[in-house]
Symmetry: none
Subunit: 197 residues, 2 copies
DNA sequence: TTTTAATTTAATCTC
DNA sequence: GAGATTAAATTAAT
């Protein structure tokens, strides 16, 4: 973890709390110790077609040894965690006025947030327009900001450094995608043109 | 994807053209970031260790001669940085990397890093469910398998021994991370509880 | 439906 | 090998 400040480290750890599974790995040891077993040479029951990627979350029910399910064991932390409560969006709060149901929008947002926690996912951050603008401007000049720049951005934009880092990762992926697509377009156009000649 | 509309791609291209052509939009930055800061020039590091990484999978598809043009992964840096647009042979790239008169150490580090990432990165391996299962079972018993076990696993799982080694490294890192985080959790809960008493 | 924040993990780099 | 970081692939919220 590159974050050097305590707050950054704390935020980072709390982000990954749901990944905590240090104890879950022990309880899954129920296999025998024969080499054949270890190597999985006795063919498994439900002939899973080899060649398929490993996607345990798709059929989580049938996947017993998966430590990913362990985040369900510690939802209490999610409730108590103050780190994500602070991040309320003013734009969304104004919608409270239009709410005529049992729960206010903020209440429902809160539920949603807690549900996110249960599901093991950080509530989606809604960046403000100004935050995006600054991030974009920095990205134009440097798409790989180091830890110090990220920290500086975090301070100035009132965001966690983690969010900054993720934002740049996603932004780089987006740029790459758009390059791929424009490249594809060019090739396609060249091909079309040469066929029309 | 439907988002591959011409307008979208065009917008994307023009955005990138602006980027290539210079810092035309510097003035829109309404935040007090110094250029040095944004470019990451503050963080000084040591020199670049010369030496080309071993990338057998690059040669595998298209080798014979020095043709790199048929790579599916488009190097983003080639678009963004005018330096890498014209020259596509390694000798010239070396010269660019050695050009310390014009570029800072960190810049050259960044270039080199991006080059190797975008051009030479090994395609991500998608392990099958069965492969993962076997690896996990072995890991439970021995998280530091020696070369002989790795070779055996490679044979039986039809993988390169390299992949096995990397997998165990990443798996150990994951375990360590989860231990750190659960420890953090315990400390935090103890702290919370003692504060509530 | 589209965009993008968030997540997981294989691969890379530095030490 | 450890540790940090990244890209790739994906999930899911908006």
């Amino acid at each position: 973890m590159a974050g050097t400040s305590l707050s950054a480290a704390t935020a980072s750890v709390s982000q990954n709390l749901r990944k905590v599974s240090g104890f879950a790995e022990k309880k899954t040891i129920q296999c025998s110790f024969s080499i054949e077993s270890i190597l999985g040479l006795e063919q498994k029951k439900d002939g899973i077609p080899a060649g398929k990627p490993h996607r345990p979350w798709v059929d989580a029910c049938t996947n017993l040894g998966d430590d990913r399910s362990s985040h369900l064991q510690i939802p209490v932390v999610c409730y108590e965690n103050p780190l994500f409560r602070a991040n309320s969006n003013p734009a969304q709060e104004e919608k409270v006025l239009r709410c005529e149901n049992y729960f206010s929008v903020t209440e429902r947002l809160s539920f949603k947030r807690e549900l996110s926690w249960y599901r093991g996912r950080r509530p989606r951050t809604a960046f403000t327009r100004n935050q995006i603008e600054v991030l974009e401007n920095v990205f134009k000049i440097n798409s790989y900001p180091g830890i110090d720049i990220r920290e500086e951005l975090a301070r100035k934009l009132d965001l966690d450094e983690d969010r900054i880092q993720i934002w740049f990762q996603n932004r780089r992926a987006k740029l790459k995608r758009s390059h791929r697509e424009s490249q594809f377009l060019m090739v396609k156009n060249n091909l079309t043109n040469s066929l029309l000649e």
